[in-house]
Symmetry: D2
Subunit: 224 residues, 4 copies
Amino acid sequence: MKTSIKTFLIALVSMAMFSLKQDKPTKIIFFGDSITQAGVNPGGYITKMKEMLEKQGIKDKYQLIGAGIGGNKVYDLFLRMEDDVLSQKPDVVVIYIGVNDVWHKSSHGTGTDADKFGNFYVAIIKKLQSQGIKVICCTPAAIGERTDNSNQQDGDLNYYSNIIRGIASKFDCPLIDLRKEFIAYNLKNNTSNKESGVLTTDRVHLNDAGNQFVADLMMKAVVK
Amino acid sequence: MKTSIKTFLIALVSMAMFSLKQDKPTKIIFFGDSITQAGVNPGGYITKMKEMLEKQGIKDKYQLIGAGIGGNKVYDLFLRMEDDVLSQKPDVVVIYIGVNDVWHKSSHGTGTDADKFGNFYVAIIKKLQSQGIKVICCTPAAIGERTDNSNQQDGDLNYYSNIIRGIASKFDCPLIDLRKEFIAYNLKNNTSNKESGVLTTDRVHLNDAGNQFVADLMMKAVVK
Amino acid sequence: MKTSIKTFLIALVSMAMFSLKQDKPTKIIFFGDSITQAGVNPGGYITKMKEMLEKQGIKDKYQLIGAGIGGNKVYDLFLRMEDDVLSQKPDVVVIYIGVNDVWHKSSHGTGTDADKFGNFYVAIIKKLQSQGIKVICCTPAAIGERTDNSNQQDGDLNYYSNIIRGIASKFDCPLIDLRKEFIAYNLKNNTSNKESGVLTTDRVHLNDAGNQFVADLMMKAVVK
Amino acid sequence: MKTSIKTFLIALVSMAMFSLKQDKPTKIIFFGDSITQAGVNPGGYITKMKEMLEKQGIKDKYQLIGAGIGGNKVYDLFLRMEDDVLSQKPDVVVIYIGVNDVWHKSSHGTGTDADKFGNFYVAIIKKLQSQGIKVICCTPAAIGERTDNSNQQDGDLNYYSNIIRGIASKFDCPLIDLRKEFIAYNLKNNTSNKESGVLTTDRVHLNDAGNQFVADLMMKAVVK
């Protein structure tokens, strides 16, 4: 008798939780730089994801929030994590950072040392995970789309991507390996070795194909 | 009658607090880069301050703690503030940072943008002050000791010093203006326009005269 | 008798040369970067000099030629000296270079080392002087107009200006010390410590006042 | 009859030329940076080539001269070409430059823009070829030996190597593609993805295996 009551109560609670879940969509914050800032614009990768969710009839299950600021590097994310992410109590955070950490070395003299890039990246993950937030990592896609490894920052971008891959693995974070995917896509589609115009407008920022490509890859990782 | 008891109790508590204060020295943390890391070595500026306090017979009133790490920039301080400073519950924190934020622009491509330098500096002060900690600011002394404004980073070092001066004023922090003092000292003592060897060994790190000079300036600000 | 004939002939040749000189204006080439490239535009400093010569009624005595190319550093001048200067057989060359050698360090990672800057500068002067060409040197005026020595490149610009001053003195070249003059002008006229807008449009390139200021200084050195 | 005389004369001239050649060794100048400067040291790649020529019994047929100076970039070669190369009237010049043009971007802010790298490279070849000198080009071997395209300058080094490949082809210069050869060698021999220690001591300068590897490749191109 007692057991049946217990079973009944568990079922009741489960149903309540389920309905609760129904009511409360999964809140996903996209935490990044100018690429993510543009992601909420019409045609942006976050906007495209919303449209895809709507088409699939599951738009109420997910709340997608852009938290990208132009020029951000990993330590900028760390600085504004409390205000822009934790305060919103998300379920999932997608970290998409690294381009400026590499790029600004040569354009402004203000990139991020590789070891410090790793330290801040880990600090962000630890803090988010300590709040029960699921963290998804992305590698930085591209600074230049040439396919013969001759974009100025290719080596460095690969190195920082390796750092992220190692951290994602260590901290059990799903990885959206944009760097790998962009290289593969360009090898197939950029046969004239163009510097930009395939997935980016300007070597870095996403054109429409790029936004769609990223949206597709993100969807696979985010929507289960 | 009630009033006199209250007055008596207040006096009692005050005496207790005073004796408590007697027992517990003022804990001062020096928070910085390699210059501060070397400050705790024999002959270092923190070591010299301890010796000066001992000579003055007040060494028990102050606990001086070095928290300098080579290569640190302002955001490194922010990252390790919790572990290296707040956990020690200091009464006073002396922030001495900025050389690498400027210098690493040209030597590694990994300096700190001026606006971000300010943002992190403010974030550190706010956090420390929110814990009731007194914050003392320092301007970065020198990268090169030439007196005709021809050291490569003179302009930038002056600019970042201006940022610190503005922040110190805004947040009511005492300022130890090392930059200004070093320039004045060199104008008097570096008549042959040498690049180093006056207060530094290598344009940046302090020689014995430099450590003494900094120790003297710090003492004035720290010991009341 | 022989002597009188000789004297007569000398007088004749002198007259012929004089009339030749009358016919042939002094050819002056302005050899530099984008500042000089813009100098031949309407309102540019070379255009203004031409107008000043015309007003003074001596426009036929001077031929002013702009040979400035945007982005040029000292070694670019050396590379194109044969084609752009020597081939034109000028009487005077005004070298106005140095801004990009300093500036591109932080904006592109492609500035010029100070010692090499000096080496190329000297090589240009030697080559020009070996052809009997009079060389006039200019210091690079400004990268930023703040008056408190807080423009990022102030130190480096002063250092490279010192190099030029030393070379000009060693090789007996008249010096137009634009750096010194710009600083003095700004100390008087830029009382609000603005970064640009006094003599420059964008910290580097000359506005109308800047073009007039440079034209005036050049005139003093060039027109005797 | 006429024909037989002609044949006889040709044979005579050939013999004379051969004996002339016997007397006068082919003079080869290695024109480069610190890697070439070290090439004349015991164990250096030029020293090894001399030893190889001696073993092959043809050391009298070649005169190998090192003309490498540490820190040199392409424009430094152009500046000292007259004094260090043309004045020696060599038969062959091996140009081995490019590492510092790329590397110094991030280490000193004084690398060389890609387009200017090409311009100076072409200017050197044109001048040498105009004097009847045979020019052999080399691509810059390595800044870091990791095999997964994650050395910081990999992209840029590949880009500058592409420039050299294009120029060598256009000006009919034999190419020693050190970059390609080093990558292939490391893919085979550097299975642990080490940053240095395979062909270099410090990512850039040649260890003994590196000097031997370069000597072997140079021999194939130089000794016919």
